[in-house]
């Protein structure tokens, strides 16, 4: 793997996305580097999920460019993964869900089992490996979604509000899992509107408001001294949308 050039950094140049006459993402530029956990923070409707989908390639910008370091080809998609706010679990077992991306990517069958077992163990799902995925608890389902996204060893893992529907215990488990995935060397890019979570997980904060990137600063600096009035208001809980 070492001789394969990294797909990062991801370069955004004046990325804009419009729908039904409204500008939802407005001229965002910047490089997302291989190192660190980037958390996109902002109130509801700021365009966090949209920005994630644009980066992941599920949507095309109406203006501007999104470019991976190796160019935008078919193989790039296989080297990134995304965990959705409401993940779609396939109607098969927990292990079957984790095996699915390996099957899609043509991983040799004899390698699959070991990697599935490792992902199950890492996500704490070994005990429910043979249970149908759709009967798992909400927290287990989200951990399964992360394990499924991670099993193919992506270089970039996008997470879209992965804990928004979970109780504090399940949220804690997800956060630990995200940190563990980070330890394996994957670049984490996630959205949240939860300040505590951003503080716990982020190395850097990208503060988004009304489709514009207002601030991009290291996490300690952001919470200690936000540069914009909007960010300050958001931190005080005064900025709801």
């Amino acid at each position: 793997m070492a001789d394969v050039p990294s797909i990062l950094p991801l370069r955004l140049t004046d990325v804009t996305y419009q729908a039904r006459g409204q500008t939802l993402i407005d001229g965002i530029s910047g490089d997302l580097e291989a190192k660190g956990r980037s958390v996109i923070l902002g109130p509801n409707g700021a365009g966090k999920s949209l920005l994630l989908r644009l980066c992941h390639g599920l949507l095309q910008p109406t203006a501007g460019r999104i470019e991976w370091a190796v160019g935008n080809n078919e193989r790039v998609r296989q080297r990134q993964a995304m965990v959705f706010q409401d993940p779609v679990l396939l109607r098969r077992s927990t292990a079957g869900n984790i095996r699915y991306p390996l099957h899609l990517h043509g991983t040799p069958r004899r390698e699959q089992q070991a990697r599935v077992d490792e992902a199950l163990a890492r996500a704490g799902l070994s005990a429910v490996a043979d249970r149908p995925a759709r009967v798992l608890s909400g927290g287990e389902q989200q951990r399964l979604a992360i394990a499924r996204a991670w099993v193919a060893r992506p270089e970039v893992l996008f997470l879209d509000e992965p804990t928004s529907n979970l109780d504090p215990a399940a949220t804690r488990a997800i956060e630990e899992l995200v940190l563990a995935v980070d330890q394996t060397g994957a670049k984490i890019i996630m959205t949240t509107h939860d300040l505590g979570q951003a503080r716990r997980l982020a190395n850097e904060i990208l503060f988004l408001h009304r489709g514009r990137l207002l601030e991009r600063t290291p996490v300690t600096e952001f919470f200690a001294a936000p540069r914009t009035a909007e960010a300050a208001a958001f931190l005080k809980g005064d900025l709801l949308c």
Binding site: R77, F84, V88, Y100
Partner: protein, 234 residues
């Protein structure tokens, strides 16, 4: 009314006696219609899914044809298959006319559009839910199709059952291409038609009652499996 009550008594009597002629006819009915459904599903499910998922030239036309052909008259299908399989026809060399294989082919043509059109709808619904996730996982078109068919398997069973119901109940096509030959191509529906034409209305109705019970049994069994699996897999 006497014929009605006599029919129920007769049906019960034949079932309890395990009438060998009846068993043979029931067996052939099941064999022909289940084979036809199997073949039609092999063709119709991927075809329906392809129509639902892919944009290709002629897609709208195929979609319209499939929907229109859901109501194909069995006699017309029978006639077409007869002309194909007749010794004077293009496939006459196969010598398939008046055999169960010809009946399977006719029923397969009859119900493939039903299975395809219904599965197209099911796959389209499922695709709305799965689209982003599958694109995120970099599933190719073929992989997407297979995944949606597999994950929709319990809902697709309804489409398959609709096809089976139509196949096992039709008489027009199998009469023409099977010939209703005793001990060779006689199935429930052609036997019913024959007994009706002989004026044995009670016997005909008794066979009809058994046919309905049979279709009901197959449906109940399939739905029981589906519901159990649904509870399991969600």
């Amino acid at each position: 009314m006497t014929d009605l009550t006599a029919a129920f008594a007769l049906a019960l009597d034949m079932l309890l006696r395990f009438d060998p002629d009846l068993l043979e006819i029931v067996g052939l009915s099941l064999q022909v219609s289940l084979s036809a459904v199997g073949l039609a599903a092999l063709i119709g499910l991927p075809l329906g899914a392809a129509v639902a998922l892919f944009r290709f030239p002629g897609r709208l036309a195929i979609n319209a044809l499939l929907t229109a052909f859901m109501g194909l008259p069995p006699v017309v299908v029978g006639l077409i298959v007869y002309l194909l399989l007749s010794r004077a026809g293009p496939l006459g060399i196969l010598g398939l006319l008046f055999t169960p294989a010809a009946m399977i082919l006719a029923q397969c043509l009859l119900i493939t559009p039903i299975i395809a059109a219904l599965s197209a709808q099911t796959v389209a619904d499922l695709h709305e839910e799965y689209d982003e996730q599958l694109r995120s996982l970099a599933a190719g078109p073929g992989q997407t199709l297979v995944t949606l068919l597999w994950d929709g398997r319990f809902r697709l069973l309804t489409a398959i059952l609709a096809g089976f119901g139509r196949a096992v109940a039709e008489v027009g096509a199998v009469m023409i291409v099977g010939g209703n030959i005793n001990h060779a191509t006689r199935v429930m529906t052609t036997a019913i038609a024959l007994e009706t034409s002989k004026g044995n209305l009670a016997l005909a109705l008794a066979l009809g009652i058994i046919l309905i019970a049979l279709a009901l049994g197959v449906n109940l069994a399939a739905m029981a499996i589906r519901d159990a699996a649904r509870v399991r897999y969600g």
